[in-house]
């Protein structure tokens, strides 16, 4: 049906650079890979393809794009003591890493909001640090207003050339002003359209992980679960590492699938599916970072030996080193064969790993929903099934990444079984956000939850054969 000129295009991975800007400037790479290059002929089936972008390596610190950052600190009563002290320390440490071209805002909030340091070029670090040092705690948690004010300050210097980010620290439930996850999420989504992302750092066990995860997720920022205040400095550093190594912003990806193929869902990022086209955006891409989504499609029954284009992808982004807007495009197609072995051999393992990771993530979300519904048994069993699913695939593909996720899933399962529900839930949200966030391929997921595992692993749950949805 779709046999036309396009079928002449090479099968498999095809990443084509259309636009050639400044010759010296490096480019983000776009890759489009199907899970199976060869599909079984003669049946209607579901398959996956991965669309990913990878940031180029930033060479020296000199080249980095200036940042426009708003540190929004919770100074509500619950922050008193070690937490606020560590937060001050971490924020001051972060200030030290920035340079005179960077713009910094410091906003504190409790019941009300105080724009402590309005958006300003960081020429006087000592002034900003002194202001941070004077922050003391007390009062409620006006999180929405804190983000609103922080965003307004960012907007004063909003510039495509800069990395615009709000770093929000909170240890409590928002209780002043709009406080629902959906309201904060909507705000995040709106900020994302402007190129502002919000990274949320949840401290301790009392913050609202849904709200923080949603705000970060919908704005394209990171969400971190920081159980102990002593970890704050590390997390701040990691966040600033990322912010100061951003090589591309406003990465917009458009995937078009030919008529006949039905896009089912997108895993891994907020995406807009309408008809045959799928649009998604990443706020930013830092040095060597790979961000990707998996697109699940339904492929019609096709005869043996036929070739079919699966998707065409175009992307554009702002190159933070050259200052130009670059365009990328790519496409992928599959062959059909009646030979099962050929099909099996055409599997691209890394793509499948991502598919498994995302599917497991969906399962994990489902487990959170059960937890919220109060059905702890169902939550535990969902996590158990998920663990089995992960283990099976980790063994099958001998995947380090999947083992890392398995470890996290196992930890959450233990926590649920030990009725440590709050910790479990926060860890789940953090995990879900992190996996969605597409950490670099070399990210060590096991590291994330290593320090939190408190009880030795339970007896491995009985292996259950689980079909990939």
């Amino acid at each position: 049906m779709m046999m036309n000129m396009k079928s002449l295009m090479t099968a498999g991975v095809a990443a084509v650079l259309l636009h050639v800007g400044t010759v010296q400037a490096e480019q983000v790479t776009l890759d489009v890979s199907p899970a199976y290059k060869v599909l079984k002929s003669g049946k209607k089936q579901t398959t996956w393809l991965r669309v990913g972008v990878t940031g180029f390596e930033m060479k020296t610190d000199k080249e980095r794009a200036p940042v426009n950052i708003a540190i929004v600190l919770d100074k509500s009563g619950s922050m008193s003591g070690e937490k606020i002290a560590k937060a001050r320390q971490a924020a001051m440490g972060a200030i030290d890493r920035l340079g005179p071209n960077d713009i910094v805002t410091v906003v504190t909030y409790d019941t009300t909001v105080n724009v402590l340091v309005p958006a300003t070029k960081l020429t006087d670090k000592e002034y900003v640090k002194k202001a941070i040092a004077g922050v003391s705690s007390g009062g409620g948690t006006a999180l929405f207003a804190g983000v609103s004010k922080g965003a307004a300050e960012i907007r004063k210097f909003l510039d495509k050339e800069r990395v615009n980010r709000i770093i929000l620290l909170s240890d409590g439930l928002a209780n002043e002003g709009p406080s629902t996850p959906s309201e904060l999420g909507s705000l995040g989504a709106s900020l994302k359209k402007e190129g502002i992302s919000v990274s949320t750092l949840g401290l301790g066990l009392n913050y609202n992980e849904d709200l923080m995860a949603k705000l970060a997720g919908r704005s394209g920022g990171n969400h971190q679960f920081i159980e102990r205040a002593t970890e704050l400095a590390d997390i701040f550093n990691r966040e600033f590492d990322e912010v100061t190594s951003i090589v591309a912003q406003e990465v917009k990806v458009k995937i078009t699938v030919p008529e006949g193929i039905r896009p089912v869902r997108v895993l891994g990022n907020e995406a807009e599916i309408s008809g045959q086209s799928i649009q998604l955006a990443f706020n930013q891409l830092y040095s060597k970072q790979n961000r990707h989504v998996v697109l699940e499609v339904e492929v019609p029954e096709t005869e043996n030996g036929q070739k079919m284009q699966l998707a065409k992808v175009s992307a554009n982004y702002r190159n933070m080193q050259s200052g130009e807007t670059d365009k990328l495009s790519g496409a992928t197609s599959v062959k059909f064969s009646s030979d099962d072995k050929q099909v099996e051999a055409s599997l691209t393992q890394t793509v499948m790993e991502d598919v498994v990771a995302f599917v497991a993530n969906e399962q994990n979300r489902l487990a959170t929903d059960y937890l919220d519904a109060g059905d702890i048994m169902k939550c535990a069993s969902t996590l158990e099934i998920n663990s089995a699913f992960l283990k099976e695939n980790a063994d099958k593909y001998n995947s380090v990444k999947l083992r890392g996720i398995l470890l996290g899933n196992g930890y959450q399962l233990d926590a649920v079984k030990n009725r440590d529900l709050n910790r479990a839930r926060k860890d789940m949200r953090f995990f879900q956000n992190t996996i969605t966030d597409n950490a670099p391929a070399d990210a060590d997921f096991s590291k994330l939850s290593k320090q939190k595992v408190q009880t030795p692993s339970q007896q491995p749950a009985q292996q259950q054969k689980k079909q990939i949805p």
């Binding site: 019941t111 009300t112 909001v113 105080n114 724009v115 004077g134 009062g139 006006a142 929405f144 207003a145 983000v147 609103s148 004010k149 965003a151 307004a152 907007r155 002043e176 002003g177 709009p178 629902t180 959906s182 309201e183 904060l184 909507s186 705000l187 989504a189 709106s190 900020l191 994302k192 359209k193 402007e194 807009e272 599916i273 309408s274 008809g275 649009q279």
Partner: protein, 544 residues
């Protein structure tokens, strides 16, 4: 008689104080009301200012949204692009002239946001809410849900420019949502739902924040908050932290389309009164007036009491005088009757009549002295006494006076010792001297009878005559030496001692002073002695 004036005095103090207090409280509460009204007016003014700035912000948004909705072709991709890129927009929609939702079309493939939109606004579209409000607006001119174009000068041109569009308020999710819509010339309705979180965030961004209290501690601490539907707080700022049950000091409903929102200001209660100084002034005023009035009442009481005592003394004086007058009169009458009876059985050379005449004479002399004393006292009070000097010999006068006392002295067995050394004639008023001496002797006779002894001593120099009368009576305590000359004063108020008017020594002193002399009282070993010095020269007379 005593209680009534006291009551009056209490009234004198209490009544003005009550009036003053009442007036003061009235004034203070009036002042309080005034200050409160002033503060409220001020705060309301601030809130109106905020309302205006929010209205301006929404007006700007409305202008932008009017541009966004001013489209006549409805290409799906173009519409989606607008939604995708404009951070202020939640969703665009198009309704065709047949009231059918053209975009996002419920039958076509939908994005998640579009599906969300259709779910949330199905009633809005199905019930033709926008269309109804449109008709209401064209017939009634105004309808609640639509923001009537504001007629305030500057915005007018803007209103004209966007007269085709209006805000519509629709409730879903956490609260009110704003929809900007217009009917295009082709009959289509193009509307845009602005992202609630976003326009709230933008409004918050324009509102003040809470600066450190230390930075402007001088200004009045207050808390302003925006509340949706009376309960949900949207944003608050200001360093003051009111109790949750505190009622707002002022409240203001925001202008349309945000009429579901209220601005509230809280200020500390004590700032609403005239301050502590008002109450303090009132209390201080009352205390001072109270003290002044009590002082006045005390002075009046003092004066009143003195006059009362004076009056009672006069009454007792009159009683005494009457009593004193009656005794000699009774004696005179009795002896006169006896004499009259004796006349029938008169025996020649009988001593009896002479004795009786002696008593009559001495009693009448006593009467004379008494009357002279009373007259002298009366004159002294009126200051009409005159010194009338004559050439006399003091000793002679002493003897004459003593003679007149002789019968009663004899009767009371009082021994009289004389030491008279003033035999030379001098210029003095004999009446005054007689009266002084008479009073002194009479005192001995009255109060020092028990001593049964009296000594009269006279001497004279070129300037003065000295006269001393001493007795062996009970004496006078030295602490009372000054008081003996006060009118109506007596060493004892006992009834047995009640004979006497209490004015004798007062008159003695007065007469001595009048005569350019003085009186001294001295305690002696056995009794008391009075020393009178009378000036001879006429200087004293000249003074008068």
């Amino acid at each position: 008689m005593n209680r009534y004036p006291k009551l009056l005095l209490i009234l004198l103090v209490a009544l003005p104080l009550t009036l003053l207090g009442w007036g003061g409280v009235r004034l203070a509460s009036h002042e309080k009301e005034r200050v409160k009204a002033n503060i409220q007016q001020l705060l309301t003014g601030q809130l109106k200012e905020i309302d205006r700035s929010i209205a301006d912000q929404l007006e700007t948004l409305a202008i932008d949204m009017q541009q966004v909705t001013s489209i006549n072709s409805y290409n799906l991709e173009e519409l989606r692009d607008v939604v995708r890129n404009d951070p202020r927009i939640f969703q665009l929609f198009v309704i065709n002239p047949d009231d059918v939702l053209l975009y996002p079309s419920p039958i076509g493939p939908l994005t998640e946001v579009e599906r969300d939109f259709i779910l949330k606004t199905s009633d809005l579209v199905n019930d033709r809410q926008l269309q109804l409000s449109e008709k209401g607006a064209s017939t009634d001119g105004k309808k609640q849900n639509i923001s009537a174009p504001r007629g305030t000068g500057k915005v007018k041109s803007v209103v004209l420019a966007r007269q085709t569009g209006a805000w519509f308020v629709w409730n879903w999710g956490p609260g009110i949502n704003l929809i900007y819509w217009q009917r295009r010339e082709n009959g289509h309705i193009v509307g845009v739902v602005v992202e609630r979180s976003r326009w709230i965030a933008d409004i918050i961004a324009e509102l003040p924040d809470t600066q450190d209290v230390s930075q402007d501690s001088e200004s009045v601490p207050s808390r302003v908050q925006i509340v949706e539907s009376g309960t949900t707080v949207i944003y608050k700022w200001g360093p003051y932290d009111p109790d949750s049950e505190d009622a707002p000091t002022v409240e203001l409903r925001l202008s349309s389309p945000l009429s579901a929102w209220q601005l509230q200001t809280f200020v500390p209660l004590h700032l609403m009164t005239a301050g502590r100084s008002g109450t303090f002034n009132l209390i201080a005023g009352l205390v001072i007036s109270g003290i002044a009035l009590i002082g006045l009442a005390y002075a009046i009481d003092l004066q009143f009491g003195r006059e009362l005592r004076e009056a009672s003394r006069r009454v007792s004086f009159v009683n005494q005088v009457s009593h004193e007058l009656r005794t000699p009169l009774t004696n005179i009458r009795m002896y006169a009757e006896l004499l009259d009876r004796d006349l029938d059985t008169l025996e020649p050379n009988s001593e009896q009549p002479r004795k009786r005449l002696g008593v009559i004479l001495s009693e009448s002399q006593r009467l004379t002295r008494l009357i002279s004393n009373v007259l002298a006292f009366a004159r002294q009070e009126k200051q009409t006494l005159r010194v009338c000097r004559k050439q006399v010999v003091v000793d002679e006068i002493v003897r004459n006076v003593l003679d007149s006392f002789r019968p009663s002295l004899d009767q009371k067995e009082i021994e009289v010792e004389l030491n008279l050394n003033a035999a030379q004639s001098v210029m003095i008023d004999p009446d005054i001297l007689e009266q002084i001496l008479g009073n002194l002797i009479s005192n001995v006779e009255k109060y020092a009878v028990d001593g049964r002894w009296m000594k009269i001593q006279t001497s004279q120099s070129e300037q003065k005559v000295r006269l001393v009368v001493a007795d062996h009576g009970p004496g006078i305590e030295s602490s009372n030496h000054g008081k003996v000359f006060e009118p109506f004063w007596r060493a004892s108020d006992e009834l047995s001692q009640s004979a006497g008017t209490g004015i004798g020594l007062t008159i003695v002193q007065y007469l001595a002073h009048l005569h350019g002399g003085e009186v001294h009282v001295q305690s002696t070993d056995e009794g008391v002695q009075f020393e009178v010095n009378i000036g001879i020269s006429s200087e004293a007379e000249d003074k008068l």
